[in-house]
């Protein structure tokens, strides 16, 4: 290391480039870490749908189909009914996992985010990096899940292909909210457990996943209406078989998720910047 080839950061580092691509540099860190666990990610990405499909889709499904003569909820076989819900669940849950734990990790455990920030990334770019890496993983998870559903003959319409980009998008919108929530968390303040038990779990239970939401009494049905999973599932059913949705409701589903995503990003951007500069 001699002074000879010391060019100096001003000549070496292009700050305009960082301003443009900083979010991807932040994502690169996380994606590299993910790649270290690729076997686990692949195994889980394939094992998870197989497990659900054989147990619920086929096991429970054959029971229900027998009792309903193959015209279960929504008038389709049970596997077709729950396939979009399973895919939506995988998309939302998978993306969520990539923004909750890694965010706490980035702020608290090893302070990775502080290193990124000290190097010139903004709080906003660090937050965007988290979302980008979460989406990267979800592209894989959702595609694999979709392919397995397709192999099990769970879709009756070719428009089901739309589910891949849509569920990835809905997953990202939901993840933005969860990222904002995670930015307020401290490593061991127990909030994760509380949110998991009282927000996430009910949301996954009362979103019309395993049965139509309309079978629930109105007193709990609202849980489904605000639940991102219900919106993601409804859209999923629309595209994978002839589940009727008015164009107004289509807009509502997309609008609701998009608004959640924007709100999540705005809150997260702000909180990331504040925490990194405190």
């Amino acid at each position: 290391m001699s002074a000879g080839h010391w060019r100096g950061a001003t000549a070496l580092v292009d700050t305009n480039r960082i301003a443009k691509f900083g979010a991807f540099y932040a994502a690169e860190y996380r994606i590299r870490n993910m790649l270290k666990w690729w076997q686990a990610i692949v195994a889980f990405g394939i094992g998870n749908p197989l497990l659900y499909l054989t147990s619920i889709g086929i096991g429970v499904g054959s029971l229900i189909d027998k009792n309903t003569n193959g015209a279960g909820p929504d008038g389709v076989k049970y596997l077709a009914f729950i396939a979009p819900a399973l895919l939506a669940t995988a998309a939302l849950q998978g993306t969520m996992e990539e923004v909750t734990f890694p965010v706490v990790h980035g702020f608290d455990w090893r302070k990775v985010f502080f290193a990124m920030h000290a190097a010139g990334l903004t709080g906003k770019q660090v937050a965007q990096g988290v979302i980008i890496s979460a989406i990267t993983r979800s592209v894989f998870t959702v595609s694999v899940y979709w392919a397995i559903l397709w192999a099990f003959d769970a879709f009756s319409s070719p428009s089901a292909l739309w589910l891949i980009p849509i569920e990835i998008y809905f997953g990202a919108c939901f993840a933005a909210v969860m990222m904002a929530v995670s930015a307020y968390m401290k490593e061991d303040d127990g909030w994760f457990a509380i949110i998991g038990r009282f927000v996430i779990a009910p949301m996954f239970l009362f979103s019309g996943t395993f049965y139509a939401l309309s079978t629930l009494p109105l007193t709990i049905r609202w849980v489904g209406w605000i639940s991102p999973l219900w919106h993601a599932t409804e859209i999923g059913r629309y595209f994978s078989y002839d589940h009727p949705i008015s164009s107004t409701m289509l807009l509502v589903h997309f609008g609701y998720m998009t608004l959640l995503g924007i709100a999540g990003l705005l809150v997260a951007n702000r909180k990331f910047a504040l925490r990194l500069a405190a």
Partner: protein, 325 residues
């Protein structure tokens, strides 16, 4: 104590106007709630200079450091880093600095060379550049044979060297180190000092905080002595000692129950005296002569030591407290 010695404004080492100023702080202030951590300090760091912030725990060193690395927003005053205001150009400034924080934030899951690579990527540096640079940096940090080790497996001194190497990946205009050697054993500290000295010789601008006066004396051309968020003195180590202390110090111990009584009897000796619980310090032009005078008065210390005056003495003089407790 005359006023001008409490808050000296003049530096004895010239900091010429025509030199490029890398950092200019005027009345720099940081307030947390109603607690003032940094209370309006003024200093400049010139290009190529090695500048120190010396002070005890809680003096406000890290707070100052974080403000001048553009990672903590100031509450007041003016601050220019690399000719820019960090409130407006934080990311641009940070991209051109090298930062070694007080607590290492290496990624312990990644290998040594991966830590350097990924940090370089935050600056958008190319794979080609980084491949070559990482070899250089590992050699510089004497970590070549740890290249593929996990960070977890490194000693404290090695981690510190890796953090410094990491901070150099973008060839920073200023390298800022917050307590680079705290917690290291003497051997590891000397290795680190040697590395920092090389950088200094190459003309890298350094800013170092420390509460070790020997570290400040070794590494800093110029420093500020901080206490309770204020600057107590500034100048080169030699000029600070010349200004605030006598050339030599005699340390004598008479046993803790006798120190105070003896102190009264020998108080006329030397330029000045400090009575600490365990020893008496006598500041003198000639230490040996002062010690001889004490003994000629019939006072025989249990132990005695004549040494050159240090920044520790300057600090004690300015604040009435020792630097490291």
């Amino acid at each position: 104590m005359p006023d001008d010695q409490i808050v000296p404004r003049l530096t004895l080492v010239p900091n010429p106007e025509n030199q490029t100023q890398m950092i200019v702080a005027q009345n720099l202030t940081k307030v947390y709630g109603d607690f003032t951590a940094v209370a309006g300090i003024d200093f400049t760091v010139a290009k190529g200079e090695s500048f120190g912030l010396l002070g005890p725990n809680g003096a406000g060193k890290s707070t100052t450091m974080r403000m001048i690395t553009a990672t903590l927003q100031r509450s007041g005053g003016d601050l220019t880093i690399l000719d820019k205001d960090p409130d407006k150009f934080g990311p641009q400034i940070r991209a051109h600095l090298g930062v070694v924080p007080q607590a290492d934030n290496l990624d312990t899951e990644l290998k040594v060379h991966e830590n350097l690579y990924i940090y370089g990527r935050y600056f958008g540096l190319s794979r080609k550049y980084l491949t070559k640079k990482i070899d250089e940096l590992l050699a510089f940090a004497q970590l070549e044979d740890k290249r593929n080790s996990k960070v977890d497996q490194l000693s404290g001194g090695m981690k510190r060297r890796l953090t410094i190497a990491r901070a150099l990946v973008n060839e920073p205009e200023v390298l800022l180190l917050d307590e680079p050697t705290t917690g290291l054993d003497p051997q590891a500290r000397h290795v680190l000092w040697d590395r920092l000295f090389r950088l200094k010789e190459q003309g890298v601008t350094l800013v170092i905080t420390t509460h070790y006066m020997d570290e400040a004396e070794q590494l800093c051309d110029r420093l500020i002595v901080m206490d309770q968020g204020k600057i107590m003195a500034q100048g080169s180590p030699a000029s600070l000692i010349a200004e605030h202390s006598s050339p030599e110090v005699v340390e004598v111990r008479f046993g803790s129950d006798r120190n105070a009584a003896v102190a009264e009897r020998i108080s006329h000796i030397g330029d000045r005296m400090d009575v600490l619980p365990d020893r008496i310090l006598i500041y003198a032009q000639d230490g040996e002569a002062a010690l001889a005078e004490i003994i000629s008065l019939g006072q025989h210390p249990v132990t005695s030591l004549v040494r050159r005056s240090s920044l520790e003495d300057v600090f004690l003089r300015l604040t009435g407290r020792t630097l490291v407790d």
